[in-house]
Symmetry: C2
Subunit: 344 residues, 2 copies
Amino acid sequence: MEHTASTRELGEFGLIARLTSGLPVNAGVIVGVGDDAAVLTCPPDTDAVATCDAQVEGRHFVRAVVTPEQVGRKALAVNLSDIAAMGATPRAALVSLMLPAETSIEWLDGLYGGLRAEAAEFGVAIIGGNVAATSGPLIVDVTLLGQVARGRAVLRSGGGVGDRLYVTGTLGAAAAGLLTFGGRSPTGREVVDSVLAEVRAAHLTPQPRVNVGIALANTGAITAMLDVSDGLAADLAHLCARSEVGALVDSAALPIDAATRAVAVAYGRDPLELAMSGGEDYELLFAARAGTDDAVAAAVAAAGGTARAIGWLTEPALGMRVRGEDGAEAQLLARGWDHLMSPT
Amino acid sequence: MEHTASTRELGEFGLIARLTSGLPVNAGVIVGVGDDAAVLTCPPDTDAVATCDAQVEGRHFVRAVVTPEQVGRKALAVNLSDIAAMGATPRAALVSLMLPAETSIEWLDGLYGGLRAEAAEFGVAIIGGNVAATSGPLIVDVTLLGQVARGRAVLRSGGGVGDRLYVTGTLGAAAAGLLTFGGRSPTGREVVDSVLAEVRAAHLTPQPRVNVGIALANTGAITAMLDVSDGLAADLAHLCARSEVGALVDSAALPIDAATRAVAVAYGRDPLELAMSGGEDYELLFAARAGTDDAVAAAVAAAGGTARAIGWLTEPALGMRVRGEDGAEAQLLARGWDHLMSPT
């Protein structure tokens, strides 16, 4: 019977009891799931950080092509990426579910399996949430709380002219992964299975740069940081607007891996375009004061990550510019993924 | 043009800029809307509290009969009630919106008007959120953060045998209000406009007992507390289960106002049933150590509220019992509103 139970048969309290049994906790949790609200310690000399982001069925994921574990992991990962971009340490998550009547318990067990695994990997407690019925698509809305040493959160607004601009990891892989769900490649070129798996994993289970974000904040050299969710150009535009600077990006320096290049070619797309405006990279884009290259490199390496210098912050009047491989400069437009204007 | 704009035309960033302009803030906000995450102070010697609750169109509200301002107020109020039930002070909210494509800007302006008004009334900052498109109903999912003196959060689990049981305000009015949306009263009895307005207001714009909750926690006399959202009997069952006690409720003591009684009679319902299991009262149900009646009464009065002693906590083996007006006792069942099993 258990394997055919629907959420309707279990009811709200039965479902909550099942999903929340043995949730990950940590030392900061005083009261987790089960009271009117969760209670957390406020460690001395820290600030609290908070963010939320939702995964909506049909917009952010399609149940036919993703496992519930992947949805759970990503629902938390996209929030971990925002906390990482503050240079903060993630602590505790609240999970708000909007469930269609036909949702199976097995699917929800899988979702919570993914949430638990991602939370455990990053030392995050799951401390609360909500379950509501909906006539629409399944939605997983996660709020993530974190902490950072007092006054040390890294904002988008601190960048200055002459700062070096960096990005972690690689760009465009998630966008390449998304391309491959659209069917066979239009050029007829074969994409080998290992490449397919690599770019799809980038799309389905992004790796938030939590340790790198914390290490970067600890250097004291980082003037501005945000995560790349809307695409490099769009997110750089946010950084420039907030910091009141321009930027020059060296396109030859953009970190694009071989799998992304292979998929781009097979699908008749420019790898640079995927890197510039693909979106959902969940890498960290940051600016560091001039002369801190070694400190930045050491911090990133010690945190087990990679980062590439891709340009500089410039006078605001210059706007955003990109230098091509031929050395010529052009205006860089903030085209990115606008969640309301573009269908997924 | 502005008055016919759709969210699709404005786009995500235009919409966010419009909705978040001039949001309420408070002294604890270091960074509000506009960065990867919000940043809040962690005052010394406090704990943080966190809760979330969603309002789903078609389940929790119907756009034809409520104003967007009412939806906004209630979306925050139900969370304020949870924070109040911890004896905590609400501080900051994150607002996560799931929007159908046809959502009008006017409706969202109204929603945010309600959110802003409720937040301002309780000194709450709106510090962040998310906007996602959905093919389903409109959803407003709010996470509310609060603070409480270290170790002083009032849980559901501290109740002891012999404690006096209280409830604030009155019970059943929201359930009576919901009845009146079902059409003309089946008995043909007229419900006067002022009564209709009163019970509908209880349903549409509940008044969270924030000041009373804080005042009660400050007495040090309160052993257990929660808010009445699923109905008195169901929520009392939660308190009893967590505190490992039974309870005896004196039905004659239940606070039921004249408007609720009038509507119940007109709709052929027992006022006691509405009070016991109507749900959505958003009053505080709490237990206080024996001999603290005066301290409790003084705290509630000083906070501008009311509370009524409605029974006692008993040995767990006795379960939940109710004493009728004739003095006879019967078992009290935890019938309440289970959000997944009962259609709205």
